[in-house]
Amino acid sequence: MAIEQGSLQSMIGALVGNKTPPLPQQTAMGFFTDTSLCIGCKACEVACKQWNQLPADEMHWTGSSYDNTGALSPTTWRHVQFIEHIGRRENGSNGQPSPIDARIAHARGEGLIPFTPPGTALPFFNTDRWLMHSDVCKHCVHAPCQEACPTGAIIHTEFNTVYVQQDICNGCGYCVVACPFGVIARDDGGDFTAHKCTLCYDRMKDGIEPACAKACPTDSIQFGEVAKLKEHARERLGFLQARGVKEARLYGVDDAILEGGLNSSFLLLDEPEVYNLPANPARPSNNVAPASLWTILAAMILGLFGIIFFRED
């Protein structure tokens, strides 16, 4: 592995700790991704790639509905999922009369066509569902990736977003196993450092909204002050449930997840697991203390026996 230009300075610099002083805190900014508004157009995915000039994923037809991306990656920071929940009202091929035909027959028997205004009876979503969800880094308030990072490459910016300083990261890979959402990853096809959504830090500094949010036609991706977004999220949940969308739920809005919540939260239309989201992931750094205790205990036991064994006689 060739020593990169000036890396010696950077190492020295790193050692003597020439870290720029932290910028003044701003109001926390983040996302609220509302899947009940998503039309699966993937504009967010492309906008992100374009703004950040990320290479295209290789062409691979997955057959998992309309999702040929599969997962977030070092070079894909927005990922639109497609989940088909389609019931069968027709039982199709075999000649047997299907349930609907039975219902129709019954209706005929009664000689009545329901004149109860069906219009008002329309549900907010039709009974078949095609769930679409634009996944992204959660910008955790207590970010496991950041807590794990030994070099301090991962920081919370002045907007309290989680950001990787590519010039600091040395690709140790610890953040990769720390992230409970499978977001951050090391770009082993590229510069061998860890990459993920920057929440368009560069744009935000110029007061421009992130590329993905900008491109989203239906405002399924909403960018703004976290506090306001969360408030809106709760209203939104109420709105949907009032309209009978009982399966709607918020994810990462309250502080339950990772003991502080997510600055990039979601409104889901099914259990988190359906979207491969962990319901209530552990915070890896919480394991340090107990794990250490067990280690110390074991060490003491052994030390003790060691001493006993060696000193007797």
Partner: protein, 847 residues
């Protein structure tokens, strides 16, 4: 209905989503469950090609249950108008209207469709709607067959579902509420497309949803400025502003006007051939103009148009001279018909500017064969598209065709790089008829130039080439006003000879040929450059004193430096300061109908345009689509012509009678009322009439290259439809070169139901072969419950759906879906039937 709005019009669909948030109900009736269906309150799976039954049944439901908006219908539509005694409906003739000529395969005599008229040509009517010959009663009889049972039988839609749609529509229409219907090519690409849209129009008229805020029928137009390309047409049968292209011999169809007391000027016709002639400007105006209603302005618009094209030459012989210069059409010269002629060697050369028929047009295999018959072809495109590369890159598809042998292809192809939208300035006209000026961002790369540049310099060179020719046929070209050169080249651009797009816009907007306030004697004549702009089409004259490239756009550029297409003021209730909607920056057409006959808004909630009693004029949130100071009480004098013939309660000013046409007495080639016909290829016989499919459609049955499967042919039992994906654009040339998009949708796939997959032993993700009498292609199997078998005609019919974005050029390649499609054409607009035909499938790949 008939649109995959979320995928094909994501930006427009955002408004639908917003509306839904505010309580609007979104219903999607479509053969395949798409991203649009996912957001809808109600999704109704239906069989491709059954729409007129679905809509007809709604019409019947409205009529039989008094669901219609009575005051609107009686006053604003022709429901009360009487139709001629000798008119015969499909009821009597089992699927045909009176006037059909079997061997001409069209309606050669439409005179019986006309109104019953009094001695001076006024249509008779019966406001009580009781007269058996009034349109209302004719409709009741006509749609009597369109029952809920038929919907189940033909569309495979359970009646409860259908009823939900019907009820929801009715409940959300009337004084307080309005409903809109959006459609796109799911309707148009059918052998009866125009009539499907007519059905929707009838529903909207009956429910009072036309000319009112929140109502209407939205045609979701296709390419970025496809609306513009019909306003200022790339179409063979239109000049501009919907003035028809003059015809050397109109079809042998006598017009309603031949009836006693015609509504237009009398016209000369060749008695022997029984053919209308448009040899002179007067003939043209007689036959295509109208004596009553707005089209009575045809002379002014035509003269101004002629002047825009031919400058002063236009004025000789009151315009007749220049009129003679316009090429006359001699029949159907539409794209698809031309392809047939190309195939027969009748077309030698071809300019292909921004189109890719080798993959995009239906029966594309035949299209490619046709291109091989050309001597030369010029392709202007952003990429080397299939149509430009077919001669050496076309792979073999299926057993019957092997890869091309270039040595056998004589076509000489000139591929010219075109500038993309960001590399040139001009306007887009969007789905709402709104012109928006687009600035140029960067110079086009290399030799790429704008299409304007190409056409302008081509014209210049041709004029040089033919300069001095005395040949009459060359005079049209030579006398064209063709001076769009920029005063000075654009700053910082390396292109020095780019024409001035604003000059073109000025010609389109129109200008004064002579000073408007010219005193007698002094008569200055302006040229395009120095002429004052006309403020709008109202001032256009038929005396040659004005010039206007397209009257409907007149007003977009009313004064120097005042390009309204470039205005970007987002304020206001109807955003009148944003862009410019033709005509006259009107956002909703026929908006006088948003007020009741007395001129008061139908309801406070739906207030839009109304009569201001104190000001004595029409006013409102939009530009009123009516004579501004014509009071609702106005009644025309007997024998009045032009706009004076319209009363203060006739909102539909383009129509001679000022009414919305539930029944179309003229103008359509396939009947005055929508009638269900099966698609050209169908698994079932027409359940309503003996007439199987549209009697007026062009089938080209005898052509070996357009073989059609027989009705219910067991070899091709599956209904197939084609559609778009958000990720790609039409023939794919604008998207399949982009890795970012390709990785989102890397391969052609066919969507099939698990039931069908089970029957045919096709596994999800593996390959399958789809075949029709025209060809065979391969695709990945997307086995999904979003496709579902339907019970039609008492049995289960399977439907499959395919995108059609792939081809053999680009970074993502795949079979060409259009190799499967046939080329049967809709009679009125010659559009192919790409949305409903039949096929068969089997697992495996092509050799």
């Amino acid at each position: 209905m008939g649109s995959n709005m979320a995928e094909a019009h994501p930006i427009a669909f955002a408004s639908v989503v917003k509306a839904k948030e505010q309580g609007a109900k979104v219903m999607h009736v479509d053969p395949h469950y798409s991203r649009t269906s996912a957001l809808a309150n109600l999704y109704v799976p239906t069989r491709a090609g059954g729409d007129i039954v679905f809509l007809g049944a709604i019409i019947r439901h409205i009529l039989e249950n008094n669901g219609y908006f009575h005051d609107y219908v009686v006053n604003y539509t022709n429901a009360a108008t009487l139709v001629r005694e000798d008119f015969k409906d499909t009821e009597e003739l089992d699927g045909l209207f009176s006037g059909y000529e079997a061997d001409a395969e069209t309606y050669t005599d439409q005179s019986t469709w006309d109104y019953e008229r009094d001695k001076d040509g006024r249509p008779l009517s019966d406001p009580t709607l009781q007269n058996p010959r009034c349109v209302f009663q004719i409709m009741r009889r006509h749609f009597a067959r369109y029952t809920p049972e038929m919907v189940e039988e033909v569309c495979g839609v359970p009646r409860e579902q259908w009823l939900q749609v019907a009820q929801t529509l009715i409940e959300n229409s009337g004084r307080e509420r309005t409903s809109a219907i959006c459609y796109a090519v799911g309707w148009t690409q059918q052998s009866k497309g125009v009539q499907i849209i007519r059905s929707a129009a009838i529903i909207q008229l009956l429910l009072g949803n036309i000319g009112r805020t929140g109502g209407g029928i939205m045609a979701l137009r296709g390419h970025a400025s496809i609306q513009g390309s019909t306003d200022i047409p790339t179409l063979y049968d239109l000049l501009s502003g919907y003035l028809p292209q003059p015809s050397a011999l109109l079809t042998a169809v006598p017009h309603a006007e031949q009836s006693p007391g015609a509504t237009t000027w009398s016209q000369t016709r060749d008695a022997k051939t029984n053919i209308l002639s448009q040899q002179t400007l007067q003939d043209y105006i007689n036959s295509s103009g109208q004596k009553l209603g707005w089209w009575s302005n045809t002379p002014a618009y035509m003269r101004s148009f002629l002047h825009a094209w031919y400058g002063d030459a236009a004025n000789e012989e009151d315009g007749n001279c220049s009129y003679r210069l316009i090429p006359k059409i001699t029949g159907d010269h539409s794209h698809l018909v031309t392809s047939y002629q190309m195939l027969d060697g009748k077309v030698k050369g071809y300019l292909l500017i921004g189109q890719n028929p080798a993959a995009g047009s239906s029966n594309s295999r035949m299209q490619r064969k046709a291109l091989e018959q050309l001597d030369w072809m010029v392709v202007r495109d952003l990429y080397e598209v299939e149509s430009a590369a077919f001669w050496y890159k076309q792979p073999g598809y299926g057993p019957d065709s092997s890869p091309v042998d270039s040595s056998k292809i004589k076509t000489e192809i000139f591929l010219m790089p075109a500038a993309a939208t960001t590399e040139k300035e001009g306007t887009f006209t969007n789905t709402q008829r709104m012109l928006q000026w687009r600035d140029k961002a960067v110079d086009p790369p290399g030799d790429a130039r704008s299409d304007l540049w190409f056409v302008y310099h081509l014209g210049k060179r041709l004029q040089e080439l033919y300069a001095g020719s005395k040949q009459w046929r060359d005079q049209g070209l030579l006398s064209l006003t063709w001076d769009y050169a920029s005063e000075k080249p654009e700053e910082g651009s390396r292109i020095v000879d780019e024409p001035d797009a604003l000059l073109v816009l000025k010609e389109i907007n129109g200008y004064y040929v002579h000073p408007p306030d010219a005193k007698e004697g002094e008569k200055k004549t302006y040229t395009l450059r120095d002429a004052p702009h006309v403020p709008g089409y109202a001032v256009l004259k038929d005396d040659g004193s004005t010039a206007c490239g397209s009257w409907i756009y007149s007003g977009v550029y009313p004064a120097p430096g005042k390009n309204l297409a470039a205005s970007r003021n987002p304020e206001g209730r109807t955003f009148l300061g944003w862009g410019y909607s033709w005509p006259a920056n009107r956002r909703i057409l026929y908006n006088r109908a948003s007020a009741d006959p007395e001129g008061k808004p139908w309801s406070e909630r739906k207030k839009y345009v109304w009569w201001d009693e104190t000001e004595k004029k029409w006013t409102g949130y939009d530009v009123p689509d009516f004579m501004l100071n014509r009071p609702p009480s106005f009644r025309p004098k007997p024998g009045a012509v032009g706009m004076d013939a319209h009363s203060g309660t006739d909102p539909f000013i383009m129509k001679p009678d000022g009414k919305g046409w539930l029944f179309a007495p003229k103008g359509l080639k396939d009947g005055p009322l929508p009638t269900h016909y099966e698609p050209a290829e169908s698994p079932m016989h027409n359940a309503l009439y003996r007439q199987q499919s549209n009697p007026a459609a062009k089938y080209f049955r005898k052509r070996p290259d357009n073989v059609l499967a027989a009705v219910g042919d067991e070899q091709y039992p599956i209904v197939i439809t084609t559609y778009r994906l958000t990720e790609h654009h039409v023939s794919g040339q604008m998207t399949r070169w982009l890795p970012w998009l390709n990785s989102l949708q890397p391969s052609l796939f066919a969507e099939i139901s698990p039931e069908l997959a089970g029957e045919r032993h096709i596994r999800h993700g593996e390959w399958l072969i789809i075949n029709t009498p025209r060809g065979e292609i391969e695709a990945r199997a997307m086995v999904t419950r979003r496709m579902r078998p339907l019970r039609v005609g008492g049995r289960v019919v399977h439907q499959i759906g395919l995108p059609f974005h792939w081809g053999f050029q680009g970074k993502s390649k795949g079979s060409i879906t259009n190799d499967l499609a046939h080329m049967v054409l809709e009679p009125n607009v010659s559009i192919e039937e790409a949305k409903a035909f039949t096929c068969n499938i089997r697992p495996g790949r092509l050799p």
